[in-house]
């Protein structure tokens, strides 16, 4: 048993750090320094820089353009990127539809789509949820009617994050309405420029346009854009969902958030106050414990093991800790937490985005499988408790 990285891994970490020191543009670095919000163009700028280095998709197999890193190196890379405050890349292409196309797509689909996901030439978004069918994904109602060599889509998707910036959307649609819920669903890829597709941005409670309602009105989608078996989209979706969960522990983001809380507390003269210091320490202790659970998952993955029971708690607890970190930042700011975002001169640079992020972060225990859904799954699959 060993908690340290091997000399090779440490060398790799140094390489990442030194590269980050050189490669991060001044504008992004300045924003990272104060944990400011990145605009989509900055995210894509950073995507292309990582692409240039070959590190944009550390988890992709080499045959599709991945860098061939070990599991530990992948972990180190992710952690260092998070700790440096680099922009988070959009996961929809790199971590969701990309791997789905690798696993379920035809060679033609792989050739057509994967290179442009990697390069960032095509930006993706996700069309799963529908109004009135949040966690109960299988009750979706967007229809795809057979029309020769194409399907014709009609319906509405919601919570399509950053659809306003996307070139493509992957969707679950109902291709057979005669069978029961999970059956009859297909996984299709839709060009956002197809006539009849419209993405209408919605404001969140953080007052950022993070997601859209996306409408489909008689949208023709060639049958070559179905991924996996016709009516077999549920299998593709399930494979993606499992992947999504492990993305969201985001220990590095929470570490950075706690670091920010401490810096704000120091600026307010509260870091030497026993009560405030202890509140921050209690949260950091919880995060350190979660980080160890994260390391256990990583070490298992490095050995090629499937994620163990400890991985199921990562999303559940990770999202709570991330929320609490921003709640604590608000509490430390005290009266200054009355300020809404982008109020330069009223609160410090470090504090600009706290209120908006605090509000929007209520979503972390809802999206990607709500905490309640996670608990249902753990109760059933891990603890073996009987169904209701």
């Amino acid at each position: 048993m060993d908690l340290s990285f091997s000399p090779d891994d440490l060398r790799f970490r140094d390489e990442v750090r030194s590269w980050l020191g050189d490669a991060m543009p001044a504008g992004i670095r300045a924003k990272a320094e104060v944990d400011a919000h990145f605009e989509m163009e900055e995210v894509m700028q950073w995507h292309r820089i990582l692409y240039g280095k070959g590190w944009v998709a550390p988890h992709w197999p080499t045959k599709f353009g991945g860098p061939g890193l070990s599991a530990t190196q992948r972990f180190i890379l992710t952690e260092e990127l998070e700790l440096a405050g680099a922009p988070s890349l959009s996961p929809f292409g790199l971590s969701m539809v990309g791997p789905a196309i690798m696993q379920f797509g035809t060679p033609e689909q792989q050739q057509r789509f994967l290179p442009k996901i990697l390069s960032g030439d095509e930006v993706w978004c996700q069309g799963y949820s529908e109004p009135g069918a949040g966690s109960d994904l299988a009750s979706l109602r967007t229809t795809a009617t057979d029309d020769g060599d194409a399907f014709v889509l009609n319906g509405q998707k919601t919570w399509t994050t950053y659809a306003q910036y996307a070139d493509w959307i992957f969707c679950l649609v109902r291709t057979d309405g005669s069978v029961k819920k999970q059956a009859g669903i297909s996984f299709v890829l839709v060009d956002m420029r197809t006539p009849g597709v419209e993405a209408r941005p919605m404001l969140t409670i953080g007052h950022t346009p993070a997601f859209c309602d996306t409408f489909f009105e008689n949208v023709r989608v060639p049958k070559t854009q179905v991924v996996g078996p016709l009516h077999g989209g549920w299998t593709v979706a399930k494979a993606l969902l499992g992947h999504e969960r492990t993305l969201i522990a985001a220990v590095g983001h929470s570490q950075r958030a706690i670091r920010r809380v401490k810096r704000i507390a120091a600026a307010h003269g509260l870091l030497d106050d026993l009560a405030w210091r202890s509140r921050i320490a209690r949260l950091e202790i919880q995060l350190e414990a979660l980080q160890m659970a994260n390391y256990r998952t990583l070490a298992g993955a490095a050995l090629g093991h499937a994620p163990g029971p400890e991985s199921s708690i990562l999303k559940l607890r990770g999202s709570e800790i991330f929320q609490r970190a921003f709640e604590l930042a608000m509490d430390v700011m005290g009266p200054d937490a009355l300020a809404w975002f982008n109020q330069p001169g009223v609160v410090s640079e470090l504090e600009q985005s706290v209120a908006s992020t605090y509000c929007y972060n209520r979503a972390t225990t809802i999206y990607g499988g709500s905490s309640e859904i996670q608990k249902n799954i753990i109760a059933k699959l891990i603890l073996g408790l009987p169904g209701a």
């Binding site: 969140t204 409670i205 009560a275 200054d336 937490a337 300020a339 809404w340 929007y360 309640e372």
Partner: protein, 379 residues
């Protein structure tokens, strides 16, 4: 011991509820908020005037000052209804926080000059008190007032002045080195610079810079300004609890309604036991906020400092924790739509955060409660 409302109080409560329902439902708040950036208005002077005509703006002031001579319990009923409807007019900031400070510290002539127009709804007030770096200090520290012949030289900066961006008259706190002074200044006074600030609750506020000479007639000269401030903070804290109670109740109703009607997996999600129990935990907190709202409203007028402060701090701390829990869980139980700006639950959530912070946050009131003389046990 009596928790019954008088017939007059029931009448007041019902008329305020009817008013908010007809004239100021939550949609009105949203509309004003969304247009505030364009027109510069987040409230309606016409409606304020109407409130004056209805006598509501006179509620907490004694008859001698042209008021109705009501109690904070009466005001609490009004603010509870205002909270439930997110009424954007600055009752808490103008009538309670600034108005009661002006009442206690001002002379009869000053009441006539600045309170009377407020009571009529022809004017509004704001209390410019909080200073950067001093969190919830009840007295001014960095804003100074120095004698300058017959006048005063006042200098300093105030932050997050609720309604300060719109108020006709700002009541500014300062220290003369020995004691606290309050000055009532019209917004166009040469010593003032007022900058608009956006706030989390969408109501906005002002940063106020003061630097100039102020005639002595503006100095409130009818009572102890330090005491007036202290009591105004407590009254405002107590009334923030009433407004918060209105929010809690509205949010609980929204959430229970959602649980009853929203279906997933073929059944109403309100039939899932884990969600039922969460709703019950929300209900418990709402009932506790309801209980302490009464406590604070009754005791905020209490002359005994220990009794008053204990009660207000209990209530404000309970609102901060309970109100936060209720609004956070309301979002969680609403799921994705709770995260959108277009759903009301987020508006309530953000106003609740502001109410939790204003007039002292949880940490402040826990410390004040723990420091009260009656906290330590008899040996």
């Amino acid at each position: 011991m009596d928790f019954q409302l008088s017939d007059e109080q029931k009448l007041l409560r019902d008329s305020v509820r009817t008013f908010t329902k007809q004239r100021s439902p939550v949609t009105r708040f949203r509309k004003l908020r969304d247009h505030a950036g364009v027109t510069g208005d987040g409230w309606d002077r016409g409606l304020w005037r109407e409130m004056g005509e209805l006598g509501w703006l006179s509620l907490p002031f004694p008859e001698a000052a042209g008021g109705f001579g009501g109690t904070l319990v009466d005001v609490g009923l009004l603010l509870e209804a205002f909270g439930a409807a997110l009424v954007p007019e600055p009752y808490l900031a103008s009538v309670i926080h600034a108005g009661l400070a002006l009442l206690r510290a001002g002379s009869a002539e000053q009441h006539a000059r600045w309170l009377a127009p407020l009571i009529d709804g022809r004017s509004s007030l704001a209390l410019a008190h909080a200073e950067a770096g001093h969190r919830f200090d009840p007295q001014p520290r960095s804003t100074t007032a120095t004698r300058d012949g017959a006048a005063w030289r006042v200098r300093g900066a105030k932050q997050f002045v609720a309604h300060g961006q719109h108020a006709d008259v700002l009541v500014v706190s300062a220290t003369d080195g020995e004691q606290t002074q309050l000055f009532a200044l019209p917004r166009d006074h040469a010593a003032l610079r007022i900058d608009r600030v956006q706030t989390i609750d969408g109501l906005g506020a002002a940063s106020v810079h003061i630097d100039g000479v102020v005639d002595d007639e503006h100095r409130l000269a009818g009572g102890d300004a330090a005491l007036a401030l202290d009591r105004a903070h407590d009254a405002a804290a107590a009334m923030a609890v009433s407004e918060g109670l209105g929010i809690c109740q509205a949010v609980l109703e929204l959430t229970v309604g959602h649980l009853r009607t929203r279906e997933q997996f073929g059944v109403a999600i309100g039939s899932f036991q884990a969600l039922q129990h969460r709703a019950v935990e929300m209900f418990v907190e709402v009932e506790l906020v309801r209980s302490v709202a009464v406590l604070a409203a009754v005791r905020a007028d209490e002359e005994n400092d220990d009794l008053r402060r204990r009660a207000v701090s209990v209530a404000k701390a309970q609102l901060a924790t309970g109100g936060r829990f209720v609004t956070q869980q309301a979002i969680q139980l609403h799921g994705g739509i709770g995260i959108t700006d277009e759903h009301d639950v987020g508006l309530y959530f953000k106003r609740m955060h502001a109410l939790g912070v204003m007039f002292g946050d949880e940490e402040h009131h826990v410390r004040r409660f723990a420091a009260s003389p009656s906290f330590a046990p008899a040996p």
